[in-house]
Structures are given as structure tokens and as C-alpha cells.
Amino acid sequence: MTIVASAAAGAVEHLDRGPLTMDELAAVIARDIPRGSYVNLGIGQPTKIADHLPADAGVVLHTENGMLNMGPAATGDQVDPDLTNAGKVPVTELPGAAYFHHADSFAMMRGGHLDVCVLGAFQVSATGDLANWHTGRPDDIPAVGGAMDLAIGAKNVYVMMTLFTRTGEPKLVPSCSYPLTGVRCVGRVYTDHATFDTTPDGMRIRETWGSTAADLAARLDGAAAATQSRR
């Protein structure tokens, strides 16, 4: 399987600019979240998406440590040690909030009640496998948190990441070399260069920034072939 299926088919190409910044990417994701959705934003980059959700979109944020309708980060006197998000950052409460315990919170996630979950990733495979919890380095202390629960729980699991590592290796790969977080769980991948939908034939490019879909597909598949031949 190539990573990208039918690159030419219907992708919107923004060629008048370069790749997105992470903040611009957050805005793109925020734009795509349907009004009234229940959403979990993973620790790290996905947290930024909240800043781009219009107040009137009625998007309800879930934090897996036991709350619905979480508000923005707390500042100054708002800081309450009993009120944090999953990243243990002090946050606020919006009207209509509800608190619940951890088993109920993860039942909500695992039971498929959340509309969207956005996660960071080390790698995503062409079939939607996710690797985001462990580098696999022998000296790394394993720590999974809620990542595996989030990966298989929401109706739509989106990944937010740069498309390439700092050294230029694609993070969208034929199959993940890092330990998996979940199998065939990612529905959409948002990156600085392009957004992708998982399909039975591989990733389909929806939108690009700074490259044509064909060029990106060639770069991803070329890198994959090179990696393959090195093995």
C-alpha cells in the first residue's frame, strides 16, 4: 500500500503560502469541529485548539480527569488547585459543567460518546494506527496516561502533528516503528503541510499548504520506499 491514495483526487491546494504554523493548524482544526460537538483535546499541541473555537459554537470540552464543559486556563485568582485539566494545568468551569469520577469519565470516552478527540502523535500509519505514547527507547520510562483510552474511544479521532520530524523524516508512515497506542483508530490527520483522511486504500489528502498534493504524496511514499530499502 502507498501511504497516499489517489493524491490528485480533489485536494484543495494552498500554494500561495508555506506550511502552517502550529497555531494556524489549531485554527484549521477548530474550524472543522462541528457546532455543538463534545470534544476532548489531548495534552500538548491540541490544547491550543480551544483558543480558536468561537464562543458561540457550543463546543463542549471534556477533560478525562472528570469534567465536561471545561473553560479556558485559569489565571490569577481563578487558579484553584482542585480544578485542572488532564495536563494538570489549572482551568476554569463554564456554566453547564458537570463533574464525575474517573471510571465514569473513561466510560464516557470508551463508550463512544465523545464526538471528537484530537491527539498529538509521534507517528500515524497509512491505515490509521497511532503511536504517541512511547519512543520505544530502552531507557525511556513507559507512561501511557489516557492515550490508549482516548485513541479508541471517540467517534472521530483526529491527530494533530507536524508532518515531518525535525530531521525531515515523515511521521505519516507505512507502518509505525514506535510502539502503538491504538490500531486503525485515527480518522483524520492534521499536519502543517496537509490534512489527510484515513480511507481503506490509504490516506486521502484533503488540503495542502505550500506543496501540491502530488508532490507531498511522492515525498511521503519516496521516504517510505527509502526506509524500506535500508532495512
Partner: protein, 230 residues
């Protein structure tokens, strides 16, 4: 048995034996039973298995218990944090065992222990290293692995208010693992910031019913953000 109010945390943790499995509430600092942990350090029980979401921050709470050398094994979802150096050092030195459990499985396995469920098929972690060696099954086209209950000899829980029977309410996201752990332990020990008169808690809003609570002790609320919330 009706819950017993204790005067001090030292009384409340009395009798915890070496080798016990102790469920410790809290998510980071929120809901962590600092005072009970401090008392447990003074009490001296060792070779403990600690079940908690994290493996301690800085040198307080769980980290202090680890530093005191009382913990044989940690069962948690996320031991690795910016300031979890006490755990890190023990782990790298091979002086502490670690079982990493996905956060939802940690909660659900304790819920199963409290609810008399023998085991359950769970979709979390299927196809990942954390499912290796576990019994797998496909049900209605979805893949699951079999997960077993986690039962505690003791639970140490921090709640907001109790009544004299032991009914508990929590505060905001400090609720987290407390209500589940209270159901999963043989003996549940709770520190609260306030004990109200019988009848003052709204029966519709009780989160942990008194039946799950064995010992209660009142402690001073502390502002643990000053120690750096992570």
C-alpha cells in the same frame, strides 16, 4: 459498619501491614491525600504496592513515600512527569517495580473490583505492547482484551466534606479516582476538609455513600498549587 471519625491521621492509618496494596487517590496533586500519606510514612509500613494515577511529584505526597523506600511496586498510568525524579531514580536503579496501566483501565479495573465483576473485555490497548500476553477476543466485530480487577487492602482518599456516617462529597476535578478507590479497597481511609452534621449533605448529591467508608479524619485544606501543580 458505620464510619469512624478519627482525631489524627496517625490513628486513621494505624494497622496498615507491610506488603499491603494501597490505592492512593489523586490526579497529580488534585485529590491527593497528602496528610494520610505523611502519616503512612510515619507509620512505617513497607513493601507496599501503590496503585495511583501517577508516581509522585517533587518530594511531597507519593514521592515522599517512594523516597522513604516503602514502596515495592507502583501500578499507575503515568509515572513520567517533569518533576517525578524520585520515581525516576528508583526505577532506573532497579529498586522499584512498575506496572503501566492505561488510565481508563486503571479506573475500570478498580471499579470491577468494587462491583464484584470477575473480569471484563476492554477495547483499550488492543494491538499495543500493553495488551501483550492478555487474552484477546473479538465480540460483534470489535477486538477486546480481558482485564482483571485491581483490589486494594487499603484506599487513601481525599474528599471535601463528610457527614458523621461517612457519606462523602468531593470538589471539582479533585474527585477523580477517589470514589472508585473507595469501592475497591477492604478498608477505605478518607481525609476531609470538613465534617458536617448528619443530614447536611444533600442525599441526591452524595458521591461516595457511607457504606464504602471505614475511617475519616479531618485535615486542614492546603493550597498545593504553591508547590507547583503539574
Amino acid at each position: 459498619m458505620t464510619a469512624l471519625l478519627h482525631d489524627t491521621c496517625d490513628q486513621a492509618v494505624a494497622g496498615i501491614q507491610d506488603g499491603s496494596t494501597v490505592l492512593v487517590g489523586g490526579f497529580g496533586f488534585a485529590g491527593m491525600p497528602f496528610d494520610l500519606i505523611d502519616a503512612l510514612i510515619r507509620q512505617g509500613a513497607k513493601d507496599l504496592t501503590i496503585v495511583s494515577n501517577n508516581a509522585g511529584n517533587g518530594e511531597v505526597g507519593l514521592a515522599a513515600l517512594l523516597k522513604a523506600g516503602r514502596v515495592r511496586k507502583v501500578v499507575c498510568s503515568f509515572p513520567r512527569q517533569a518533576d517525578s525524579y524520585v520515581f525516576d531514580e528508583l526505577y532506573r536503579a532497579g529498586r522499584i517495580a512498575l506496572e503501566v496501566v492505561p488510565q481508563g483501565n486503571l479506573a475500570e479495573r478498580m471499579r470491577a473490583a468494587g462491583a464484584g465483576i470477575g473480569a471484563f473485555f476492554c477495547p483499550t490497548a488492543v494491538g499495543t505492547p500493553l495488551a501483550e500476553g492478555k487474552e484477546a477476543r473479538t465480540i460483534d466485530g470489535r477486538d477486546y482484551v480481558l482485564e482483571y480487577p485491581i483490589k486494594g487492602d487499603y484506599a487513601l482518599v481525599s474528599a471535601h466534606r463528610a457527614d458523621p456516617m461517612g457519606n462523602l462529597v468531593y470538589r471539582k476535578t479533585a474527585r477523580n479516582f477517589g470514589p472508585v478507590m473507595a469501592t475497591a479497597a477492604t478498608t477505605t481511609i478518607v481525609q476531609v476538609n470538613e465534617v458536617v452534621a448528619l443530614g447536611e449533605l444533600d442525599p441526591e448529591a452524595v458521591v461516595t455513600p457511607s457504606i464504602y467508608v471505614d475511617r475519616i479524619v479531618r485535615v486542614q485544606a492546603r493550597n498545593y498549587t504553591v508547590q507547583g501543580a503539574r
